[in-house]
């Protein structure tokens, strides 16, 4: 359960049996061809995998690079979150649980959880910060229509961090019949590892698609946005053994890899944004899904080991990148995903990404949910 010195299982004793139970169930399921087959079927006939790798034709020309987009925005429910949720929901079903609990920031993980619950006949309870409920109203309504209960979280900064606290609290008191369906590569072991395994499909598909698409087979850069970091972890997993340079892009106001210090939050040890006394800072980003003061433990380890680097972009760059991609490629990316686009644009223009380079970027989700925010920002 460790990635270097990060990770672990910093949870109350009351949750330890549940963590063990999940770890055991996941290990068994993951080596059970029938489970793998069921998940593959759902990913294919239900969620729309494999997702295409789309060349960003016009933007590539403009930037003087070859930019390829891994289209997680085309999955059912509109983001990579569904990959993980289908895996965990099948696991919960196999474990005989009746309810999925989830935290959500932008609402994409909540929608995915509500979706998987409906599909498998489970109940779903989603914890969401009051502030995120306001700025992601569309997703709240989607969850309602899908039959999930959305519980507003009014503590702390009323965003993702607090939704995690609340979900964990609720989990402690309902651990017998409820399964905590965590949305990113965070939380106590086995979550960071399990979620990365469920998201690995992004990287493995992209790797194979690059091999087919690119003369050299492997892109020079592999880029993904990082909040907790699940789409990046899944993407990087597919390119870990290659020469590709891995770049995670965080929101300037939630850049735990850049401005964080080692700490323990939500059950795991990693880099955390905190004051000198150890109180966790509130993250601030135009993208609700990146409003998280921590980072998955594997990312902290990848940073320390130098295998991946982590960059930051600010809100203004992000909105500009979103508009740029929409108007050059006709693709409306999520504000979260637009962080990765923003960095590529900046780095290609500054020459940090050398002209002629190939860049594989995971577009983690679509931007429909952000339209209201973008309107205000335009």
């Amino acid at each position: 359960g460790r990635f270097g010195t990060y990770g672990g299982r910093y949870v109350p004793e009351s949750l330890i049996p549940a963590c063990h139970e999940i770890e055991t169930a996941f290990r068994e399921a993951w080596s059970d061809p029938e489970f793998r087959g069921r998940l593959d079927t759902l990913l294919t006939v239900y969620a729309g995998r494999p997702t295409p790798l789309t060349p960003a034709w016009r933007l590539s020309r403009e930037l003087g690079i070859t930019l390829l987009l891994k289209r997680e925005d085309l999955t059912h429910t509109g983001s990579h979150k569904i990959n993980n949720v289908l895996g965990q929901a099948l696991l919960a079903h196999r474990m005989g649980k009746q309810r999925l609990l989830a935290e959500t920031g932008a609402g994409q993980h909540g929608v995915a959880t509500a979706t998987a619950a409906a599909l498998l006949g489970l109940k779903a309870t989603v914890f969401m910060g009051e502030r995120d409920i306001e700025r992601q109203e569309l997703n709240v309504l989607r969850m309602n229509v899908l039959g999930a209960e959305v519980v507003p979280v009014t503590t702390g900064s009323r965003t993702l961090k607090d939704a995690c606290n609340e979900a964990m609290r609720h989990w402690v008191s309902s651990v017998d019949d409820s399964y905590y369906c965590l949305g990113s590569v965070m939380g106590p072991h086995p979550y960071p590892w399990m979620v990365r395994e469920f998201q690995r499909v992004i990287g493995e598909e992209a790797r194979a698609q690059c091999a087919a698409e690119l003369p050299v087979g492997v892109p020079d850069y592999v880029v993904a946005c990082v909040g907790g970091g699940s789409n990046a972890a899944g993407t990087f997993a597919g390119f870990a053994g290659t020469t590709a340079r891995l770049v995670g892009v965080e929101a300037e106001g939630g850049a735990a890899a850049t401005f964080g210090r080692a700490g323990v939050l939500h059950g795991f040890r990693s880099l955390v944004l905190q004051d000198e006394d150890g109180q966790v800072r509130e993250a601030h980003s135009v993208a609700a899904g990146l409003d998280y003061p921590g980072i998955g433990p594997e990312h902290a380890h990848l940073r320390d080991s130098g295998r991946a680097r982590y960059e930051t972009v600010n809100d203004e760059e992000v909105v500009q990148a979103l508009l740029c991609l929409a108007r050059t490629e006709g693709i409306l990316a999520a504000l979260e995903s637009s962080h990765a686009v923003a960095w590529v644009i900046r780095a290609a223009k500054s020459g940090e990404i050398a002209p002629g380079s190939t860049v594989m970027l995971t577009l983690s989700g679509r931007g429909d949910k952000d339209i209201a925010s973008i309107k205000d920002l335009m």
């Binding site: 702390g156 402690v172 905190q274």
Partner: protein, 261 residues
């Protein structure tokens, strides 16, 4: 008071009285140290002192609110320790906080600082057996008792290890869930108490959801005593003065003592 927390509690238990450990969040009000005194005067056998953390995962709304209030008032670990060093109470003080505040310094530094200020015990709810190793070593080196938690869902093997490795006392969770007041005591809690008592001679205290003197007395039947937190903090947040909190602790004390007869 050079005895350890555990020695102190065992001695107290030896007098036949059920143990009572009330809780207060350090820094929640300017007069929080008065609350500590009031508890001690009202018959507490030790006082649990919350070091507020922004994200208290195992705590319910009441303690979270108290923590937020304390942090907003500028409470820091350093500040608490300075105050504690000046406190003169005749029962042991036990720190309760989360792992993140521990790892800001090293575990060794943190434990040393607690001990230097006179604290005798430490509870870190998000440091279960798996993660408590280094901290337990550091605490032992400083003579600080690291109290471990036991849950109704813990396996017998884990309960055995918890009772072996816990120091001071074993903190038995009355139920699954976060801190906060609840109405009923479950059969599950009683069973956990009996099981722990069968495994260890170390004091076993119930915590979580102890919300009335009667309930405290009922719980104490199945173990050696109780920790009372949210019920007290709710009153404090609602404006109760240290004296009133002391009176409430005294009422629990009486209920426990009567139940023990």
């Amino acid at each position: 008071m050079t005895r350890s927390l555990e020695e102190f509690l065992i001695a107290r238990r030896g007098t036949g009285r059920p143990l009572l450990v009330p809780y207060v969040t350090a820094g929640v009000t300017p007069g929080w140290t008065d609350v500590v005194h009031a508890y001690a005067d009202a018959g507490a056998d030790a006082v649990e002192l919350g070091f507020p953390f922004s994200d208290p995962m195992l705590d319910g709304v009441t303690i979270q609110e108290a923590s937020d209030r304390a942090i907003a008032a500028g409470t820091t670990v350093k500040g608490i320790l300075e105050k504690v060093a000046t406190l003169d109470v005749d029962v042991p003080l036990i720190a309760m906080t989360y792992s993140n505040l521990v790892v800001q310094r090293s575990a060794a530094d943190f434990c040393a600082a607690l001990t230097a200020s006179g604290l005798r015990g430490l509870i870190v709810p998000d440091a279960p057996l798996e993660e408590a190793g280094e901290l337990a070593d550091a605490a032992a080196a400083e003579g600080l008792d690291l109290v471990l938690l036991a849950a109704p869902t813990s396996s017998r093997a884990r309960l055995r290890e918890i009772t072996e490795r816990s120091r001071g006392f074993v903190y038995a969770l009355t139920r699954m869930g976060t801190t906060g007041e609840r109405g009923e005591i479950s059969e599950r809690a009683a069973r956990l108490g009996r099981e722990l008592k069968g495994l260890t001679d170390r004091p076993v205290l119930f915590g979580f959801g102890v919300s009335s003197p009667a309930q405290a007395a009922e719980l104490a039947d199945h173990a050696d005593g109780v920790v009372v937190a949210s019920a007290l903090m709710r009153k404090l947040l609602d404006g109760a003065r240290p004296r009133e909190l002391g009176e409430y602790v005294a009422s629990i004390r009486r209920a426990l003592d009567q139940g023990a007869r």
